[in-house]
């Protein structure tokens, strides 16, 4: 063939001439894409390290304020120089100091940890001698539980610990990628020997003696080898307890009268479960909470599925009264969110294809577009696979955004080829030459999109984490679509498009077979579009004759649309809270409330909640404190006076009330209890910002505790009066009532006692003396000797405790020590090296921004701050402010880049300016959409606004480009404008509709997690709709107003340039 001899081989030419290669390359791309897709882990968000590093230092014996001055301050001073540090906060408690560094999101955590380590090492010499080595740890996502199950039992409750540890946990540990599995509230078997103080005194015994007896009788000891004439035996004394009842029969001592005293005479031996300190109940039944974490980078969904399957298997082996119930399972939320997003992507694809079919009316052309879109999207999966990312909300959202844009390139190419084919050209040649005509401008429009999305990848902070991936994906997808548009699309066109059917009749005349034949499509859609075209042309003509009115009207509409903003009808939020069907309730009672009393309130609340909200599926309650330091304890700070509940509700589409309404019902119930000091009812979130809903925090800085506490209380009261404020909480813990025993050193030393021995004795008597283990089937159960409860539950009982002296005498505690009740100072919290109290406020039925403004206007001025005290609004509100200012900066950058791209494309400074003005109508649309839906603008919505800049200018580009073309072809200005308008309204409407309809599934989705991306859909739909409509008038009119009218000036200029024509030739 002749074409092979051509030297200039453009990509589209190669593609058309080598259809097999081209097709197979894309088949390969699809296969790799599908492979990546299948390999991709599913997760909620892109992998991110929470940027928190904690430095914990212990200093035994130091009080909170000593801790603050001697340890925390040094640490803070040293650590403030860590790179990328955002906030430094600290807590100083008795014996412990904890400094938490919050770095910028996206900072390199390994580097930061090294940095922190070196600073800690530097400051170590300043710390007091007895200080422990500071521990540095970073919070990692792997430490956060991915699932929690509640295990309830009736008869077998006492043995639950053993069942769980021996059967359940080992089996679960086999799941690949599973991290720490911990239990909360598991009953431990304990053997308690409760001694009667009076009987002990009567026999002249001490607890320690009893303990020694118990210990001495519980051993297995090798006692040598016995050699017999032929054999040899190991000899062993085996006297470990087999049954706890054996302990009762141990003899402790013999009275002078010769009477034997057995343990049963002075004590009761109880083989029971450990004294209550942490109480777990599920729906009121005794429960154990199984907390499951995953290893870093492991696939949450896979693990949760396997855990669920394993548990179902295990359930069958367990006693019939043991029930395993899910409290929550992160994978469900993730899976549901991802599923509903995948659905959105599918619908978007369908809508886009339908729009194309509607406007083009040709199934072959639609098929070509339909083939090219998925290829561009599939490449996104390859990118995700290469970037080690996952299938998450962000990546799928990006795809939905991209779908509406990827068709544009293909449409431009397709349209031009179709035009050529309809002229009677051969599809093969038409494909080559028609692509040749448009490929440069296709790449140029893609550059505009790249100018919008690449800056997103450079964002810092939390927004950066969220939008980094979005930026890359849309960029990758758009570039791929361009590549596809100039290779695969022409190839497919050359193969799939059919030349117009013509034949030569017997007379040698060329007959058009299709002329005069009208399909139903021509009769309906084409006619309708023709009507629109004609109407638009007329309207545009009118506008061109009334330019001032038109421009004023459009900017008037823009001005009017600002009203909702000026009157503060549109609030701002950080991120929308999601209705995941899970509430977390925290209740605080008066400090020092006995755990049993707390439990009563907990039971009452459970019952009432169940009555008030019959939808509740499960309530898991934990109260009290777990003295074992497990990883799980990091995430739950229960104390004797605190109740923590997880309330599980059905999925949001299975109930009528929203989760916020339910939360409000629960709050109102809790407000009725006089014993409840503080309560909080938050919607559990899976956001990257960690648990808890979004809050406005009022930070009060100041040194004096009383003063700041008072200010905090005042703030709290004022905030509670605000209509939109809920869950107002003060971060500072109330003073803790302590019983302090002060040893009289002189008396003590006279008796040969020291403070150390006295404290050991006290511990043995009150907390109990640990004396070995009772072994049962390989597990060890503690044996504890202690006083019976009646002898140690009042101050006078404590004073009456008997303490043995080295000389064998016995004294009462009251003889060597005095006792007093004290209020221990609270935990000292600091931020930015200043003491701080935080008042947290959660918005209800209002947005974060409005609440913050309300607080700023009505609360803060009323506080009378003495010199040296200051307040600051923080929390998610601060994050929001930061993100918004980032976004504004980003938008400025994007506008500039888009301007530059367009200016170089048109080689003009004016044209991009005209096009840029279409952003104003877009803002109008955004405001109207938000106002009509009653939504607030959040981070995701703000992203939508930024994206709009790139999306709406495309309409303008199409229009201006065509007007320029018409002008170059010599048409008069107004004629050129109206002609272009008429010719370009269909492509503009088509691309606008593909983008708008692509977003619709996102905006109306009611699936789980949909709250998060809905604002993006709403913003883009609103902005693009209004902007498209107004652009159709604004751009042509501005073009008309800003460019020079006739060609006369132009001709004059050319004439001046070529003056040689004026020279008279002398003959």
């Amino acid at each position: 063939m002749y074409e092979d001899s051509q030297q200039r081989m453009a990509i589209y030419k190669t593609a058309i001439q080598k259809p097999v290669t081209t097709a197979l390359i894309f088949v390969a791309v699809i296969v790799v894409g599908i492979y990546s897709f299948m390999k991709l882990p599913i997760d909620m968000f892109p992998q991110m390290d929470p940027p928190y590093i904690t430095v914990m230092t212990t200093y035994p014996g130091a009080s909170a304020s000593e801790m603050e001055t001697n340890v925390t301050k040094y640490m803070e001073n040293a650590l403030t120089s860590v790179d990328h540090l955002k906030h430094i906060t600290s807590q100083s408690k008795d014996n412990m100091s904890m400094v938490v560094l919050e770095l910028e999101w996206g900072a390199n955590m390994d580097e930061a940890v090294n940095d922190v380590r070196s600073y800690v090492d530097m400051t170590k010499s300043n710390l007091p001698d007895n200080c422990g080595t500071p521990m540095i740890f970073k919070l990692s996502t792997s430490a956060m539980p991915v699932a929690q199950y509640s295990i309830t039992a009736d008869e077998t409750y006492a043995g639950l610990d053993k069942i769980l540890n021996d059967e359940v946990i080992p089996q679960l540990n086999q799941v690949d990628g599973i991290g720490n599995i911990s239990l909360s509230g598991a009953p431990d078997r304990y053997v308690y020997i409760n001694i009667d103080q009076q009987k002990l005194d009567a026999y002249g015994l001490t607890i320690e003696q009893v303990g020694q007896v118990v210990q001495a009788n519980n051993l297995n000891l090798s006692s040598g080898t016995i050699k017999m004439p032929t054999e040899q035996y190991q000899m062993q004394v085996r006297s470990e307890y087999i049954e706890s009842s054996e302990i009762e029969d141990l003899m402790v001592t013999m009275t002078p009268a010769g009477q034997q005293v057995f343990i049963r005479d002075i004590a009761t031996v109880k083989d029971t479960i450990k004294d209550l300190s942490l109480d777990e109940k599920t729906n009121g039944r005794e429960a154990v909470r199984l907390i499951i974490a995953k290893q870093t980078g492991a696939n949450t969904v896979k693990i949760c599925h396997q855990v669920r399957d394993e548990l179902a298997k295990i359930q069958k082996q367990l006693p019939s009264d043991v029930k395993i119930e899910k409290i929550y399972d992160l994978s469900e939320t993730i899976q549901n969110s991802i599923n509903s997003l995948e659905e959105s992507v599918m619908y978007a694809l369908l809508f886009v294809v339908l729009v194309v079919l509607f406007f083009l009316g040709k199934w072959r052309a639609t098929l070509i577009i339909g083939i090219t879109i998925p290829i561009a999207l599939i490449v996104a999966f390859i990118y995700l696979g290469v970037a080690d990312s996952s299938l998450n909300i962000i990546s799928l959202c990006s795809l939905t955004i991209a779908i509406g844009m990827v068709v544009d390139d293909a449409i431009v190419v397709l349209e031009n080829i179709t035009r050529h084919v309809e002229r009677g050209e051969d599809p093969h040649e038409a494909a080559i030459y028609a692509t040749n005509e448009v490929w440069v401008s296709v790449i140029a429009t893609t550059l505009v999109l790249v100018a919008v999305f690449v800056p997103l990848t450079m964002l810092n902070g939390m927004a950066g984490i969220m939008f980094h991936e979005l930026g890359w994906i849309v960029t990758v997808v758009c570039c791929t679509s361009t590549l596809v548009a100039i290779s695969l699309t022409p190839m497919l066109c050359s193969k799939l498009l059919r030349a117009k059917k013509v034949h030569v009749d017997e007379n040698g005349n060329l007959i058009d077979d299709e002329a005069g034949k009208k399909t139903w499509y021509d009769k309906t859609v084409v006619r309708m579009l023709d009507v629109i075209d004609a109407y638009y042309e007329r309207a545009l003509g009118w506008c061109l004759n009334h330019k001032t009115i038109t421009i004023l009207a459009i900017f008037g509409i823009f001005g009017l649309s600002l009203l909702p903003v000026i009157t503060k009808q549109i609030g701002t939020d950080f991120m929308q809270e999601q209705d995941n069907g899970r509430l977390s309730v925290t209740v605080k009672l008066q400090r020092g409330t006995r755990i049993e009393e707390t439990l009563k309130t907990a039971r009452a609340l459970e019952t009432r909640f169940m009555v008030l909200v019959p939808e509740i599926e499960l309530i898991n309650t934990s109260a009290g404190s777990n003295d074992d330091a497990t990883i799980a304890a990091l995430f739950s700070s229960t104390m004797n006076n605190k109740i923590q509940m997880t309330v599980r509700l059905p999925k949001k589409w299975q109930r009528d009330k929203t989760i916020w309404e339910i939360a409000e019902i629960l709050r109102q119930e809790m407000a009725r209890y006089p014993e409840i000091v503080e309560y909080q009812c938050t919607v559990a979130s899976n956001g990257p910002g960690g648990g808890g809903g979004s809050t406005v925090n009022v930070e009060i800085y100041g040194y004096d505790f009383d003063k700041t506490s008072q200010l905090a209380e005042q703030t709290r009261r004022l905030c509670m009066a605000l209509p939109g404020a809920r869950d107002v909480n003060i971060s500072r813990e109330d003073d803790r009532p302590d019983i302090k025993i002060t040893v009289d050193k002189e008396k003590a030393s006279r008796l040969g006692l020291s403070s150390a021995t006295i404290s050991t004795y006290l511990r043995n008597r009150v907390a109990g003396m640990s004396c070995g283990y009772l072994k049962d089937d390989g597990s060890e159960h503690d044996i504890v000797v202690r006083l019976q409860e009646e002898d140690r539950n009042s101050i006078s009982d404590i004073l009456d405790l008997t303490i043995p002296t080295p000389s064998g005498k016995k004294v009462k505690l009251s003889e060597v020590a005095s006792i007093g009740e004290y209020w221990a100072p609270p935990t000292i919290e600091r931020k930015s090296r200043q003491r701080i109290v935080t008042v947290k406020v959660t918005p209800y039925n209002t947005s974060l921004g409005e609440l913050a403004a309300d607080i700023e206007a009505n609360v803060l001025p009323q506080l009378d701050l003495p010199a040296g005290y200051s307040t600051h609004l923080a929390g998610n509100y601060e994050d929001q402010q930061e993100t918004f200012s980032d976004m504004i900066l980003l938008m400025a950058l994007i506008i500039l880049l888009v301007y530059i791209t367009m200016a170089s494309q048109f080689e003009s400074l004016l044209m991009p300016f005209i096009i840029m003005l279409t952003i104003f109508p877009a803002f109008t649309g955004v405001i109207l959409a938000l106002w009509m839906t009653g939504r607030s603008l959040d981070m995701v919505g703000a992203l939508g606004v930024v994206l709009l800049v790139g999306i709406v200018v495309k309409n303008g580009i199409v229009l201006v480009d065509y007007i320029n073309l018409m002008r170059e072809r010599g048409y008069e200005l107004n004629k050129a404008i109206t002609m272009s308008g008429r010719s370009r309204i269909r492509p503009i409407l088509m691309t606008a509709f593909t983008t708008i309809l692509g977003m619709v599934p996102m905006a109306v989705s009611s699936g789980e997690g949909a709250e998060m991306w809905q604002p993006l859909g709403i913003v883009v739909i609103g902005g693009l709709t209004v902007s498209t409509f107004l652009t159709l008038f604004l751009v042509p009119v501005l073009y008309g107003a800003m460019t020079k009218h006739g060609d006369r000036d132009k001709l004059e200029a050319i004439r001046k340039k070529f003056i040689f024509m004026d020279i008279k030739v002398k003959k």
Partner: protein, 97 residues
């Protein structure tokens, strides 16, 4: 001998080549990517933003008796799709080597 210059839209390349083959015309000189504009209507072919399409040109030297058939074929080609465009011009060949 006559020289026939056929100027045609690139998109007609295949058809022009077929036509020459059918008419048994072997020799030609091919000029790719030539610009032009017509005197009697038709869109200019300038390869610019305004007029992006381009022409190609074939000059073939044929025997005098072949010319009418060739011109007729070119006319047929033009009738097939007038918008795409093809033109031909004939002049004499004075000498060859």
């Amino acid at each position: 001998m006559k020289s026939v210059m056929i100027v045609f839209n690139q998109a007609n390349t295949g058809r022009v080549e077929y036509m020459l083959d059918v008419l048994n015309i072997h020799g030609f000189t091919f000029f790719e990517q030539v610009q032009g504009r017509g005197t009697n209507g038709g869109e200019p072919r300038r390869g610019t933003h305004a007029w992006p399409e381009m022409n190609s040109c074939v000059i073939t030297i044929v025997e005098d008796e072949q010319v009418p058939a060739l011109l007729e074929s070119i006319k047929k080609l033009d009738l097939r799709n007038e918008e795409v465009g093809v033109r031909a011009f004939v002049w004499d060949i004075v000498a060859t080597v």
